[in-house]
Symmetry: C2
Subunit: 591 residues, 2 copies
């Protein structure tokens, strides 16, 4: 539980600066899903370390707003005598300010940490929103971690497939078409793509935290700490001017006089609006790189396919090892733990050529832990793996030539009949979606329900999206396409990489998810289909085979044949018998 000294020191600072309050968001300047410890002021202030939320600090009250996922966690981590916990979406900050804060109250905020849309909502309240020139946390937070200074490496043409010069010309062309002079790039994965570089500021998120400006003639000014560039070949910086990261907003101010600047409507900090609006014009629209980057080129696609062979081999080695260890260790009265499994899996991945690091925090969840969608094991929570309970593993790797993300749920003995039914429904949803042929340009929200329908038929559902984009040695959740209930305006087209991952979760009991990463490929004229990149056997021991159609069985048999043929030369010899058994045709397995 956090002490309240951070809160006291912030309140003193507010008083000294004649401010009536301050908004402290979880967000960093890049609206990152995973940010650096340096940027986690919210955890310093409140103790809450979830991935989304914000605090409002007033002289006499302090509030923490978190979403539905974090209501329990926040109450465990935060001193609730000091902080009231509110719901981020059901009781949004703007509404709370409207109803509870006196008109004209000076509420401070850091304009680099707030998007324009967030600002617009808050600016409509009667508060006087007061942008700060400098962050108070540099002085108040005594042991603040240093800003990350991770080295930036080159992404060679042999893996990126297109030179940075060509990419810059393609994007510059888009600026010309839109009648725009500059694109202010505030999304680090878009900078990584444009410049063919990768960063190491935040583990498992290989983006270079920085900003960039691209002019209509294709020139780039890169606002990045020099320290990060020390091992970067000079050739990468051809046609690129390097400036300090801190110079970015002022540079936008100077450059924009009488000019038109393109800002990403979803992520650009409102600081840029304040800088540009007085003398320049803004085009608020999605950064064009976001969708260009989503259509992978043939070299990138080949890289994804290749690294999935390596990752598939690591998975099979791991699953074969589990099939020996789980029953043995359970029989020995010393059952395997979630953390042991996670460690062993990492070791198997590290044996693979091209492996860099995990792509995200592994979910290694046994029994009831798997019912928590975003669970991560710790010594305190790690459960034993038992033959007769589901074990869910959602993991992936950053490889030199791509990124992997897959989930398998399995058991080695017999789960309950109800759990078999749930597993079969999740599998049928997975098969319904992954087997679709659909018109090119269809949207994710048009297809999402195929993955849910077998659960819906049982009166069940799952409360997360069905699929997301995956970056090319970049972010594990890559925009813009999504397959989910929520409307997504971006079309699914050939060359995009997605996941397909329906699940089902019964609190306190079990969790099931089956996830393949797929590429979207052309099929019949005007139509696309999903082609699996993931090559990992799907556990059929827990399936009610009589509920599968002939077509579903055929898909599984063909998939397993492909997995067997692709991986048998690559897996360890003691894993090969398991691979052959796990990928045998259903008529053999089912007999």
């Amino acid at each position: 539980m956090q002490t309240t000294s951070a809160l006291s020191s912030l309140r003193r600072w507010l008083q000294e600066n004649r401010l009536d309050g301050m908004i402290v968001p979880r967000a960093d300047p890049w609206q990152s899903e995973n940010s650096a410890p340096h940027d986690d002021k919210l955890a310093w202030l409140t103790g809450f370390d979830g991935s989304a939320g914000l605090a409002l600090v007033l002289p006499d009250r302090a509030l923490l707003f978190v979403d539905g996922r974090y209501q329990v966690q926040a109450r465990l981590q935060v001193n609730t005598d000091a902080f009231e916990i509110h719901h981020l979406h059901n009781e949004p900050l703007a509404q709370w300010l409207q109803e509870n804060v006196a008109a004209g109250s000076r509420i401070a905020f850091e304009p680099l940490l707030m998007t324009n849309a967030e600002y617009a909502l808050l600016a409509a309240t009667p508060c006087q929103l007061t942008p700060l020139e400098a962050s108070p946390f540099d002085t108040l937070w005594h042991d603040r971690p240093a800003a990350p200074a991770g080295e930036i490496r080159e992404m060679m043409l042999a893996v990126s497939g297109e030179s940075s010069a060509e990419k810059r010309q393609r994007v510059a062309q888009r600026l010309a078409e839109a009648g725009v002079d500059y694109l202010a790039i505030t999304l680090p994965d878009n900078i990584a793509w444009l410049l063919n570089v990768r960063g190491t500021d935040v583990p498992m998120n290989p983006v270079p935290l920085s900003f960039a400006l691209l002019s209509r003639s294709g020139e780039v000014e890169w606002f990045v700490a020099q320290a990060k560039l020390r091992t970067l070949p000079a050739s990468v910086l051809e046609g690129v001017t390097v400036s300090p990261q801190e110079a970015f907003v002022d540079r936008c101010r100077e450059l924009s006089a009488g000019r038109r600047v393109w800002l990403d409507e979803n992520a650009a900090p409102v600081a840029l609006r304040f800088a540009i609006e007085p003398q320049g014009e803004i085009l608020w629209q999605a950064d064009p790189i976001t969708f260009m980057k989503a259509i992978k080129n043939p070299v990138e696609l080949a890289g994804y396919r290749e690294c999935h062979l390596a990752d598939g081999a690591a998975w099979v080695n791991f699953l074969a090892w589990l099939s020996r260890e789980v029953p043995q260790r359970e029989a020995d009265g010393n059952p395997l733990t979630e953390l042991e499994a996670e460690d062993r899996q990492l070791a198997f991945r590290q044996q693979q050529a091209g492996f860099i690091e995990p792509g995200f925090s592994t979910i290694s969840a046994a029994g009831s832990n798997a019912a928590m969608c975003h669970y991560h094991s710790s010594e305190a929570t790690s459960l034993p793996l038992n033959r007769d309970q589901f074990y869910l593993n959602d993991s992936g790797g950053q490889y030199q030539n791509g990124t992997t993300d897959a989930t398998r749920t399995l058991a080695w003995g017999k789960v309950t009949p109800q759990q078999r039914l749930h597993y079969t429904a999740v599998l049928k949803g997975f098969l319904a979606l992954i087997g679709l042929q659909f018109p090119s340009g269809t949207h994710g929200h048009q297809l999402d329900a195929f993955a849910r329908q077998p659960l819906w038929a049982l009166g069940l559902d799952y409360d997360h999206g069905t699929g997301h984009g995956v970056g090319h040695q970049l972010l594990i959740h890559e925009n813009p396409q999504r397959i989910a209930k929520k409307v997504n305006p971006w079309p699914l087209v050939a060359g995009s990489i997605m996941t397909i991952e329906p699940g089902y979760y019964q609190e306190g009991s079990h969790g099931i998810r089956i996830e393949n990463q797929v590429e979207i490929v052309d099929s019949a004229p005007g139509f696309c289909r999903f082609a699996s990149l993931t090559l990992i056997p799907i556990d059929l021991n827990q399936v009610e085979l009589n509920l599968l159609s002939d077509r579903e069985k055929q898909w599984l048999d063909e998939y397993h044949q492909r997995v067997r043929e692709a991986l048998s030369p690559r897996v360890e010899s003691d894993a090969r018998p398991w691979l052959f058994a796990a990928t045998a045709p259903i008529r053999v397995q089912g007999s």
Copy 2:
């Protein structure tokens, strides 16, 4: 082909009034899908009588803008020496004005015929849009049909299920919640619902063309021609002030001083904005009645179910008659025609108690005519019905207690193997959607693809929506819910009435559509399903039965059993053998 005297007279009038042009839309003041001859200035001016489009008349050029459906028809009906034909969506009027008309040109328009959204687009061009106080067509169009004066009848409580007074209180409550003083009701079907009346201004569209104002205290001022009320019981007008239709806009002007008025964002004429904005405030939002009306009450639902029994019996009498007539007449060398079939079907409907009139123009289409989605037979186009070709019939009725809409496609001999495959795919899509259980509040765009998937698997699709709402003795296309590719923001909830109607069309060859009307009913907790209102056998003679799953066959058998049991007491005795054969279980039919 139209002569150009109307165009000449309009041009003279423009010159006399120092105007540089005029916009003449197909729209009437209610943005009706089907309007009265009185309102069809566009047909008078151009000869084009399609249901959507607009003309721009300039001193030296005249343009007709029509959508993709009407490109061919417009060229047939319009003198293309006088009118250039443009594409309504690909080359919109606003863009054409921007690029071709001198800044400041005075372009006239009737503000009662244009929505606010349309006006906003045009007002952004450099033209000087000039609203007209009075319509020039009253004088220029010498033989203009009189404004419709159809009698308005009462919708008795026994069929409406809720008194107008109760409805007014419910809507007034919504105004209070929204902080609004008046609701300006410009959608005639919403007036019909609110006042429990039906009109006869336009055949098959039983809405009273009129306007209304509802105050926050539940009082109604109804702007309607007195002549329409001559047979309406005085009790219907309790709490209602009647004023001339022409007084509506001025009344909005007077009432709105310092007040807030709710206008439908999609349909309200911009004339109201001009009238209210100078001294009042406008809430632009969907008329709240639109969604309240979409949730039918138990009495309305019982009415729908009841009238579908009558309509089903008429269908079975008709289909049994066809099964005798088509082969006989073909053998006699005097085949039945589309128009004969349509007439006979109407006669069967007219035998049913409660039948008022057709719900819409029947589509009675044989062979290649069915490939045109919006085809209507005429002496010139009517084709013979042949045993070995598909015949498509899309028809319905206005009944005292509801409205029906259904489509069946059938043949009496053998269609081609490809046509069987297409028919089977359409049927499988129909079954996939109609058999779904889905969370209450799901949107149509999330479910639409289920109806398309079997066609998608063949690389095929259809270019229309999958389902629409149906009014209660009201409009055949009732807002707001839709099942279509396009995003629809309104949730599907229990009590709503929809159609499910996938199809497939191969130009010059054949057209297939299978349509049931359904109500949405509660099922598992939090879930809904579709329950068929339509009771008409589905032709299984043209189905590849080996492509149907056991579940699909079970649905068909259960449906047919329900149809047989519900209709056998109601159909003519010589239709009963056909009904029994057409609804026999698949194992019997397939043998």
